[in-house]
Symmetry: C2
Subunit: 532 residues, 2 copies
């Protein structure tokens, strides 16, 4: 059975989304939060009404078979999934629509498209699942330099190509989506176990290009460590790194391309390190008096060398919003897993750390509680969250997230400053209070990766400006207080101002020099990460 096609506006496929009951319950919560009887609802324009400019480029005959300028394809490849993307789409702004969408099936076709783009003066935007929340896949061009744009969709690179069971690794085409990747590994008893929130609609290549954060809260936090080797097609040729479990031969070549966000080349395949599918699990939810106590328990566990797969905490408000708590306690979702051995000794020690900081396990028996109670509620909310956003913005409800990392010594003051600044900005931008909540997505021995969600009631027509004012205040504060502008959402265009200040000047110059060698005409993803 053919799958429904992807939504132009929203998450996933046409027909997917919140149920009526889920939506009603959600809106009821927001009515109470904003003390607002009803919302001003606007519908996104239908596809037929989108003001798409006529394509400025047409593909050469040799590439016509894998290129499309159908309005649906162009519209689908115009916006990512940032709040700003949704706001533009809702307002009918499709000025960034690509002139062409290309669907290569081979590296030769990728190379041919890059060659042709060089001649035609086209910007080329590598496209995986299109789930960027930082303006990473909008086909924007530099006027005067580019005559049009091509969105290069890797979805035909959709296979696990080779499996090495002995080394527990696989060679995988980069355009594969999360579920297909796991389905193809499952018969071999293996798993990548990389589950970003975008899992269903993001790709291996996208994860690598953006340093995606995944399933494991500790140790293997980013996709980076799972990359054994890479193949990248650049405008100057193919880069293939050697398949090795480790090396000390000069600066690691993979690390130049991991996080390059489509600016240096098109990642076409990778050898990835895999996991056994877990056979042993233990964990569950733990309640704490407040968020900072929970954070101290996380620090103790992170520094104990126990490496839980999950060790995330939610502040009381975030716990309440996701149905994981009643708003009176902070919650830790703690889990250990293994494909090899029972994990109770690990859990036992972690629960001692938890008790030292006043944590109270929800279940008396924590050995099989990871999908029950608060932990299960949180998990469900996490999976459904991407579907909520398209139903909120149509009511002018501004919900967005931003995330960072900071060392433990600065964390508490950092958290309080960032939260206060964002709350103040919401009041200023929208004229009424909103809400800012925090959780940890990943944790390290030397600090956590705090993840903030904010909720504000905006006004149609002003959504982008209101969002920008809040984003600006939050980003300024977290940058000034020592955080990184992104722990795993990537830089794209929306984080550029703060990334440029975080990144050492001379490293920027070195990166620009590297780009000038690999992409001398500046075809690839202009405006993302670096300017020419």
């Amino acid at each position: 059975m053919a799958q429904a096609r992807r939504k132009v506006f929203g998450w996933g496929r046409e027909g997917e989304g919140l149920t009526a009951a889920e939506e009603a319950a959600m809106l009821e919560r927001y009515r109470r939060r904003f003390a607002c009887a009803r919302f001003d609802e606007r519908a996104p324009p239908p596809l037929a009404a989108l003001p798409l400019r006529p394509p400025r480029l047409s593909p050469p005959a040799a590439l016509a078979h894998c290129c499309s300028s159908e309005p649906y394809e162009r519209a689908l490849h115009t916006h990512g999934k940032s709040f700003c993307d949704y706001a533009r789409a809702l307002a009918g702004d499709y000025g960034d629509a690509p002139d062409l969408v290309a669907y290569p099936s081979s590296e030769d076709e990728v190379a041919a498209i890059l060659d042709w783009a060089g001649d035609a003066g086209a910007a080329v935007i590598p496209f995986g699942g299109g789930s960027s929340v930082v303006g990473g896949i909008a086909p924007r061009l530099e006027p005067g330099r580019h005559k049009g744009s091509v969105s290069l969709d890797l979805c035909r690179f959709d296979r696990v190509l080779e499996i090495d069971r002995t080394s527990r690794a696989a060679r995988i085409a980069a355009g594969i989506f999360g579920p297909a990747l796991e389905a193809q590994l499952k018969p071999h008893g293996l798993s990548l176990r990389h589950f970003p929130q975008s899992f269903e609609y993001s790709t291996l290549g996208g994860w690598i290009a953006t340093r995606s954060g995944g399933h494991f809260a500790t140790l293997y936090t980013h996709i980076d460590d799972f990359v054994e080797s890479l193949r990248v097609v650049t405008p100057k040729g193919v880069v293939e790194t050697r398949r090795l479990p480790g090396s000390g031969a000069g600066p690691a070549p993979e690390r130049l391309f991991i996080g390059s966000e489509g600016t240096l080349g098109v990642i076409t395949e990778a050898w990835m390190r895999l996991q056994e599918r877990p056979r042993f699990r233990a964990g569950g939810a733990v309640h704490f008096h407040d968020f900072h106590s929970a954070a101290r328990a996380v620090r103790a566990i992170a520094q104990a060398g126990l490496y839980p797969s999950n060790c995330r905490i939610l502040d009381p408000q975030e716990a309440a919003n996701t149905g994981a708590g009643d708003g009176t306690t902070a919650i830790m979702v703690l889990a250990f897993e293994s494909g090899d051995h029972p994990v109770e000794p690990w859990l036992r020690r972690a629960l001692e750390c938890v008790a030292d900081h006043g944590g109270r396990p929800e279940a008396a028996d924590m050995t099989d509680a990871h999908r029950a109670g608060a932990a299960g509620a949180w998990r469900h909310a996490f999976i459904r969250m991407p579907y909520a956003r398209e139903r909120l913005i149509t009511r002018a409800i501004i919900v967005d997230t931003f995330e960072t990392a900071i060392t433990w010594d600065r964390f508490e003051a950092f958290h309080d400053k960032v939260k206060a600044a964002t709350e103040a900005a919401i009041r200023e931008a929208t004229g009424r209070p909103g809400q800012v909540t925090c959780r940890f997505t990943h944790v390290y021995p030397d600090g956590p990766a705090p993840y903030f969600t904010f909720h504000a009631l905006g006004r149609h027509g002003e959504l982008i400006a209101q969002w920008q004012q809040i984003k600006q205040a939050a980003s300024e504060t977290l940058h000034a207080a020592g955080g990184t502008i992104t722990h795993h959402h990537a830089v794209g265009r929306e984080h550029r101002p703060w990334y440029d200040r975080e990144r050492p000047e001379l490293f920027a110059a070195a990166l620009k020099a590297a780009k000038s060698v690999l992409d001398p005409q500046g075809l690839l993803n202009p405006g993302v990460l670096i300017d020419r």
Copy 2:
């Protein structure tokens, strides 16, 4: 009490070295191995007899206070500790001697030296402990480009500058030697726990510049993962990366400098992630029928997610050579350690993996055997090894090591090929059989880092050519069979031919472009890693 000065020829300080009894026992083993009644002994030339050319450069007045052209200083900074370095030094070849040795005390002085070097046409070689075994610190210059050379010794950057107990991290000056680093951390209950074989005579900055491999056999194998942030003085200015527990903001800037081997800048300080000092330990030696069985047990442990601090194996010959075994069994040195919790559950599961592959623990009680029996003997031999080399080469005994990494699926064939090719090369180069042994230094879920040692009896006057013939055959074979030319010894000049073939062409071009931005005059460590 002032310490004795460092040896110009040999390891450590004057007066340190093997005892007469250690040396006699060692030579007796070699006499038996080569069936050779006595060795042809040559002494290295005394300092006063070294043919040092008159300095071609003199420092400007402003830098005279931190520069020296004393023969001792120049000789000390001429050679690293590779076999080839020892052979040159033994033959009195000091043609690479630097014209000046600079001892800056501040980043301003480092910058001033780089400025002056640019004007004077001097090559600048960053120097930590001088323990390079790959020709990484020899002051070689490009004729026509450089008028002379300066060895830039960081030994005055010798302090732990700041400690963050909460995040378990410290800001540390890069020229500090291993023992001083640990001594300054000890009062705080902390440790970097990075113990390369060169520990006593290598520095933090050197470890970072060369991607040094350390104490931990799993997980934290290279220094890379302990680097929280870096300061690097380049000819174009200072690079300082942000202190963060993790980030996903573009390609990681630290990773460009980690492994840059002094070619992009001078690492002056780093925030390093630290460990609690271990309070709990368990482990000991395990005997196996043969090396490949031991390797399969290592694979099982590495893939089980147990993360032992030690999980090294020695083949029967290497075990015999180091006094850890009698030559009939391969030996695994297995250890778990923690600053937080007892590690018996971890050890128990590892011993089950071991038993699956026929491993027999040496002690009935493995909970406190890590310094006893074979494990203790191995540890002692490991620490004394650097002192043996200066006493062997004077007898024309060629002993050298090379190391690599390879995925598990290819390991067994790889090992057998590399060993056979090296043995054949020894026979060809020296006219008699030698010995090639193997151990693992580090292990990953997807493959081991095998470390080979070879022993051959050469002839004075031909040592370099004989060594080169063996090194060439070993390197060609391991490269062709898919290994990396170095897992943790670095590239320097001696590994360049194979590094150049292992490294993707376009990555080399990108690296060269980065260097041209940071070091436009090509002052830094010419010939290492990249050419202009």
